[in-house]
Symmetry: C2
């Protein structure tokens, strides 16, 4: 956002020009160093991966490779997942095991496939979305800032992406309630806990209002991507209301599909995903699953359950992950505070969990900052990525992903980032001053 009375605004023209000169010199020096640092994606760092690498030792040729129901995990079968994996994910999502489908390594794929099911076969017997879309474009609610890969799925399937503000306690529910009165609005993406990228957690009231939605479209669905449900940075962490309980209470049992995965619990390249849904929704999806596959990798499911044991084991494991991540998030806040707080040019989030820090610069700054940082050898998520069609109307949001670099690299990357923010903001102040002069 544009900060009235920023440090740069208070400078005289020649002070500001001097500041810009000095910052440009700094940037040139940084460029000369040939850095290659990355704060672009929510990717665990090697230290985090090491925490889960012993999982590779729990299943060997000498282990029992049978699931609790006697299934040989090396062979075909078990479409919905082995019982102990359904149980574990049920504990994580707070639903009975029989409402859980255990997938492959990617919950993103599960989400894609659910939407694909809606496109071709229709949700729960409704007309396929692709056919409905021949009469009038279909729409999908995208909370902003949000997750680019979510938006990409609904964009790929031809939905018109409707931006709705995500506030500190959840979606702008007045707006969501208004939109779902339109039968062409078919769904909404949600990351209810430590939302990607703003890190906010939906309040109980927000969850209750979502669960109580009365959409005009019978095939409206909420994609409840609970990717970060176990990803607390602090023991003293916020909690999220159980969306299925809320849906039951609201007489809306089929409104929500919930997704989660171990991608950022164990190994992102080789985790296990899961989906929870009402009995009616599961039966609907099972018609597709039955023809699409015989069953996902049960050895990896078994490996995960033997390694994590149960939800308490997950919590214990995630406390170790937090010990790796917490210093990174605290470093981001410290460096941004040290470098920028006095300049009054930007704000940023201080999340209690998840994988991202949301940075908000002045209007018209984000693309320039990301581009300049890139020239300096620091890769950031593309400006606008947190908005549908990569179109951030204020050009002010930048998603910072501090998990992957080492603390030393992160420190260096943040120094570069702060310098880039300063230069872009100083230039904006100069440009606005020029414009102001013209207008006078």
């Amino acid at each position: 956002m544009k900060m009235p009375g920023s440090y740069y605004d208070d400078l005289t023209d020649s002070e500001l020009a001097g500041e810009i000169d000095a910052l440009e010199t700094q940037v040139d020096q940084i460029k000369a160093r040939g850095l290659s640092l990355n704060m672009a994606r929510g990717k665990p760092c090697p230290e985090q991966l090491e925490l889960s690498t012993p999982m590779l030792d729990v299943l060997g040729s000498g282990s029992s490779l049978f699931a609790s129901d006697g299934t040989d995990c090396r062979n075909y079968g078990c479409l919905m997942g082995i019982p102990e994996a359904r149980e574990l994910f049920g504990q994580i999502m707070g639903v009975p095991a029989d409402r859980v489908f255990v997938g492959g390594e990617s919950s993103l794929t599960l989400m894609h496939d659910v939407i694909s099911h809606g496109m071709v076969h229709g949700i729960a017997g409704c007309e396929p979305w692709l056919l409905q879309a021949q009469r009038a474009p279909l729409k999908w609610i995208c909370l902003v800032p949000g997750y680019d890969r979510h938006f990409a799925i609904t964009e790929y399937f031809g939905f018109e992406l409707v931006s709705v503000a995500l506030r500190d306690d959840g979606p702008d529910m007045d707006e969501v309630e208004r939109l779902v009165a339109d039968p062409t609005v078919k769904g909404m993406w949600c990351v209810p806990m430590y939302s990607n990228p703003s890190g906010i957690v939906y309040s109980d009231e927000a969850v209750a209002r979502i669960a109580a939605l009365r959409p005009a479209a019978p095939d409206f669905r909420v994609m409840w991507d609970n990717a970060y449900c176990e990803h607390h940075l602090y023991d003293d962490h916020p909690t999220l209301a159980n969306v299925f309980d809320a849906c039951e209470a609201a007489g809306n049992p089929d409104l929500v599909y919930e997704f989660c995965s171990t991608s950022k619990i164990t190994l992102p390249g080789a985790g296990v995903s899961a989906m929870a849904a009402s009995p009616a929704n599961l039966a609907d999806l099972k018609a597709q699953l039955t023809v699409q596959m015989i069953g996902h990798d049960k050895l990896n499911q078994l490996r995960h359950v033997r390694f994590l044991r149960d939800v308490d084991g997950v919590h214990e494991h995630m406390r170790r992950q937090a010990q790796v991540l917490r210093p990174r998030f605290e470093l981001v806040d410290r460096r941004l505070t040290q470098g920028l707080a006095d300049l009054r040019v930007a704000t940023w989030s201080r999340p209690r969990g998840g994988y991202f820090v949301m940075f908000n610069g002045p209007e018209g700054s984000a693309k320039a900052i990301v581009s300049l940082a890139g020239e300096c050898g620091v890769k950031l998520t593309g400006a606008g990525a947190t908005w549908p069609h990569h179109d951030d109307p204020r050009d002010s949001d930048i998603r910072i992903a501090p998990s992957f670099p080492s603390l030393e690299e992160l420190d260096e990357a943040l120094d570069v980032f702060v310098t880039c923010v300063k230069l872009v903001c100083a230039r904006l102040a100069a440009a606005s001053r020029g414009t102001g002069a013209d207008e006078r």
Copy 2:
């Protein structure tokens, strides 16, 4: 097929009645034993799984978990698969590694997803099949006898399944060539090597004629499911022409998607699948893959490559598999010959590889045999499963899957099967005699 002059036809009425009585007594004795045997699915047996179980020991926390290009296989990335896995599958399918996409545990899922792509987005820029289907039903060529899970996919997506005979050297190509002149015919399922279930191998001429098809529909595609390309029972085995070479030669580079997997090379619950396609087809599919996933399980890809090494390692491993399977297939032939050859009621295949024996009884016998065997505790693939919509017009085909039972169980199951075949054939002979008498 109906065998003129079967043993039962040559009996007098009272001899035949006595034979039926004796067989019914045998069946009652079998039922009393409470057997539970299974010759229904092409499922590797525990001995086969043991051959691949040491694969679970090759990756541990002490192993290098990096791919040849430096990718950390524990983390995100590598959409198309790690280079060494693409290389291995390229060797298996006889294509360059850069034409290979490495998938999850199921090639069936890859096939489903390709068809789903055609439904919603259209093949290579053509109108989506779902929209085309609103004007006229779309059709899919199903070679019979064929694989029920193939037929199920195209049935699920609403295609009209058109049966075409699969002969000893491949499809009835005159009929296929006639059908593809119809632009509503969009594809064809093929299992070119050790076809499921008849076990035949496409001749070089058949491959060349398929590659040279000139379909009216630009979005006609051949689904080349090379599931059994490495699954020889004998060292002296037939070979299959390279379909991509044939397509290139015919100026038809984009006609075919090829699929394979390690499901029946290593572990069916936890194998790796792959797809080969022309550069244009891969680019078309990649648009979907990019939004559907970040990348499949690279640790399992690495585990497979470290275990199998290269295509020579695959051949060596498959020779060990053949040592387990060959006695089972030979037992099937021996028992069927001993029990049925003199009766002149049935024929069966003697495949040189793959997973199935195709059994052909008299017209109108298959459902009765499968049902009676079920009552006797021997589960067989449902009668008709090898035909679209499970509708075998002659009701004569039964797929025998001898891989899973132990040799002892298989021996017992085959005795039961032979007894059931005899009783059903004797009853058919009696019924036809009754009918014949009425007609006289």
